[in-house]
C-alpha cells in the first residue's frame, strides 16, 4: 500500500443548497431535516481508497453564497478541487454555482470540480430541466443530480472528483 496522501476539497454554492448535508451524508452517512446555516468554514475528513492508495479528503464546507456575503477566496488556497452545489428547485442557485466556477477559475485557475444539482428527492418541484443539464454536459461540465436525503449520486460524485484530482 502506497503512503496516504491528503487532498483539500472545497464545497461551494448558494445558501441552503445542501452543501453541509452532502458532506454529512458522505462522511457520516446521515441526513438531518433541520437546516443549520454555515458560518465561515467547517472542516471534515474522509479517507477513501483509490487503487492501492489511501487518500484523505479534507473537506472544507464553506458558508453559502448570498447577496450580502461574498466568497472568501482565501479559503480556497491549496484546494485540489471543488464541488459546486445547486438546488434543483431553485434555478437561481445554478446561476450562482456557475458564477462561482468562473470566479474560482479566475483566481486559482482550472481545478477539477463536480457540479451537483441537489434535492433530487424533490424532483417534482424541480425548476431545472434535463435539457439544462444536457447543455451543461455539452459545455464540459461534470454534472449529476444528487440527493443528500437519499444519498443518490453523493458517493459517486466525491469518488469521481477524488479520482480526477489524484490522477
Amino acid at each position: 500500500m502506497t503512503a496516504a496522501i491528503q487532498k483539500k476539497i472545497c464545497m461551494l454554492g448558494g445558501f441552503s443548497v445542501g452543501k453541509t448535508s452532502l458532506v454529512k451524508r458522505y462522511v457520516e452517512s446521515v441526513f438531518s431535516e433541520a437546516y443549520l446555516t454555515t458560518v465561515g468554514v467547517k472542516i471534515d475528513k474522509k479517507s477513501v481508497t483509490l487503487g492501492d492508495r489511501v487518500v484523505n479528503l479534507i473537506l472544507w464546507d464553506l458558508a453559502g453564497e448570498d447577496d450580502m456575503s461574498s466568497l472568501r477566496m482565501s479559503y480556497l488556497r491549496g484546494s485540489a478541487g471543488y464541488v459546486l452545489v445547486a438546488d434543483g428547485t431553485r434555478p437561481a442557485t445554478l446561476e450562482m454555482a456557475l458564477s462561482l466556477r468562473r470566479r474560482v477559475e479566475a483566481e486559482h485557475g482550472p481545478l477539477p470540480f463536480a457540479l451537483l444539482i441537489n434535492k433530487n428527492d424533490l424532483r417534482e418541484q424541480w425548476a431545472i430541466s434535463d435539457g439544462d443539464l444536457e447543455e451543461l454536459r455539452r459545455n464540459g461540465c461534470w454534472v449529476r443530480s444528487s440527493s443528500a436525503r437519499t444519498g443518490e449520486g453523493v458517493e459517486d460524485a466525491f469518488m469521481d472528483l477524488a479520482t480526477r484530482i489524484v490522477r
Binding site: 445558501f15 441552503s16 437546516y35 446555516t37 465561515g40 472542516i43 491549496g78
Partner: protein, 415 residues
C-alpha cells in the same frame, strides 16, 4: 502590555480573551511541527507529535503551507466539533507560526442572525414560487374558462341551429301533412270520378280543381244501353261462381272500351250497362262516338260468346243508342253519390236495348242521321216505346263503313 503593571496586563488579557481557547503551532520550513502550545485540547490537537510532519497531523494545514502570504488570516474555521477559531498565520526565519483564537461565541451569534435572514429569504423564495405556480394555475384556469365559454357559445349556437332545423322540420311536416291530405282528397275525388268517367277525364277534372261541372244540369247527350241476350236463363241454370266469372269477363272486355272512347259509365246492373257521351265533358259528335263504341262492344262480346257457346251457353248481345236532352249530375246522398243521367233519352236507349236481338245495335232516327256517313244501317221500321206517345223509327247498325275508322278507334283503345 508594555509599561503596564502585571496585574493590569493580566486583567486586560482576561477581558480580551475570556474563555476563548487560544493555541499555537510552529512549523519549520520542512513542514515539520517543531512546537505547539496553549489550549490544544478543545481543538482536538492534544496528541500532536513534535518533530513529525505537521500537515498529516493538522488537517486545516493541508494546502496552506508553505505560506505564500504573511500575515494570513482564515476567519471562523470550525477546526473541531463545536470549536471555531480564527487562524492567524505568519512566518519568521525559523518557520510559520499559527495561532488559533477561538471565536465560537461570535460565530454562533452571527449564525443566529444569518439563520433568521436565510429562513426569511427562503420563505420569500417559496412564496414567490408559490405565487408563480398560483399565477400559472390561474392563467390555466382562465384559459379553461375561456374554452368553456367558447364551448358554451358553440353549444348554444348548435342548439339554436338545431331548434331552427326542428322548427323547419315541423313546418315541412305540416306542409307534407297538408299535401298528403290534399292528395288523399284528390285521390278520393279521382277514385269517385273514375267510377263513371274515363281515368284520363277524371284526372283532368280533378287537376282543374273545378268540380262544378258535376252539378245538376241539362245537356244533349247520346245514351247507350246494352245487355246480354239469354243471360237471365243462363243465370238461373248456372252456378253463381260461373255467372260471376262470365260477368267478370264481360265487364273486363267492355269497360276498357268505354274508357278508350271516353264515354261516361253511368251504371252496371248485372249484365246491363249504361254509357253516355257529351257529359260531363263535351265532345263533338256524341252519337258517332256512341255508335263506334257499340260496334266495338259487339265485336268484343262476339269473341267472348264463341267461348261461351263452347261451354254450352247461348248468350247474345244487344245495344240501344238514342240522343236527346237529359238532366245530369250527382245523384244520391252524402257518402254515396253517383253521377247519372235522367230523361226520356235514357229510357229510349234502354227500350231499344231491350228490343234489340242478338248482335243488333238499334238507334233512333236522330242517331241514324248523325252516323249515316259512318255506318251501314238497315231500317228496322217503327217501334212502340213504353212512355213515348209516338212510335220511333229505328235502324240497326250493320257495320262501320270505313275500316280505317275502326283502326283509328282500335289504336285509341290500346293507347
Amino acid at each position: 502590555m508594555e509599561n503596564l503593571p502585571t496585574h493590569v496586563a493580566d486583567r486586560l488579557q482576561a477581558l480580551t480573551f475570556g474563555d476563548r481557547a487560544v493555541a499555537y503551532l510552529y512549523v519549520d520550513h520542512a513542514l515539520v511541527l517543531i512546537d505547539a502550545g496553549g489550549q490544544l485540547g478543545p481543538y482536538e490537537l492534544g496528541a500532536l507529535r513534535h518533530g513529525e510532519p505537521a500537515v498529516e497531523q493538522v488537517a486545516f494545514l493541508e494546502g496552506m503551507l508553505p505560506l505564500v502570504e504573511s500575515p494570513y488570516l482564515l476567519p471562523s474555521i470550525e477546526v473541531a466539533k463545536g470549536r471555531v477559531a480564527d487562524l492567524h498565520f505568519w512566518s519568521d526565519e525559523g518557520g510559520v507560526w499559527v495561532v488559533l483564537l477561538e471565536v465560537t461565541t461570535e460565530r454562533d451569534a452571527t449564525r443566529r442572525l444569518q439563520q433568521k435572514a436565510y429562513d426569511m429569504t427562503l420563505l420569500q423564495e417559496k412564496e414567490a414560487a408559490f405565487n408563480r405556480r398560483l399565477e400559472a394555475a390561474n392563467a390555466a384556469l382562465l384559459a379553461t374558462q375561456r374554452e368553456l365559454e367558447a364551448s358554451r357559445d358553440a353549444l348554444l349556437l348548435a342548439h339554436e341551429e338545431l331548434r331552427a332545423q326542428s322548427d323547419e322540420l315541423a313546418r315541412w311536416n305540416k306542409t307534407l301533412e297538408e299535401r298528403v291530405a290534399a292528395q288523399v282528397g284528390e285521390l278520393e275525388r279521382v277514385n269517385r270520378l273514375k267510377r263513371f268517367l274515363a281515368p284520363s277525364i277524371a284526372d283532368l277534372i280533378v287537376s282543374s280543381g273545378d268540380e262544378s261541372i258535376l252539378k245538376r244540369h241539362r245537356r244533349d247527350i247520346a245514351a247507350l244501353f246494352c245487355d246480354l241476350r239469354g243471360f237471365t236463363a243462363f243465370s238461373e241454370s248456372a252456378e253463381p261462381e260461373e255467372v260471376s266469372e262470365l260477368l267478370h269477363d264481360y265487364h273486363a272486355a267492355l269497360v276498357p272500351l268505354i274508357q278508350s272512347f271516353e264515354g261516361t259509365l253511368d251504371r252496371f246492373v248485372g249484365d246491363g250497362l249504361m254509357v253516355f257521351f257529351n257529359d260531363p265533358l263535351p265532345c263533338p259528335n256524341p252519337a258517332e262516338r256512341a255508335v263506334r263504341l257499340a260496334v266495338a262492344m259487339r265485336d268484343a262480346v262476339a269473341a267472348l260468346a264463341t267461348a261461351w257457346r263452347q261451354r254450352g251457353h247461348n248468350i247474345g248481345f244487344g245495344v240501344g243508342v238514342a240522343q236527346g236532352f237529359a238532366t245530369l249530375g250527382e245523384i244520391g246522398f252524402e257518402g254515396r253519390f253517383d253521377y247519372s243521367a235522367v230523361g226520356t233519352v235514357v229510357n229510349t236507349a234502354a227500350r231499344l236495348s231491350d228490343a234489340a236481338s242478338n248482335s243488333q245495335i238499334l238507334v233512333t232516327s236522330r242517331v241514324a242521321s248523325a252516323v249515316g256517313d259512318l255506318a251501314e244501317l238497315s231500317n228496322i221500321g217503327t217501334l212502340e216505346i213504353k212512355g213515348l206517345s209516338r212510335p220511333l223509327t229505328v235502324s240497326n247498325v250493320v257495320a262501320l263503313k270505313f275500316e280505317e275508322h275502326q283502326v283509328i278507334f282500335l289504336n285509341r283503345q290500346t293507347r
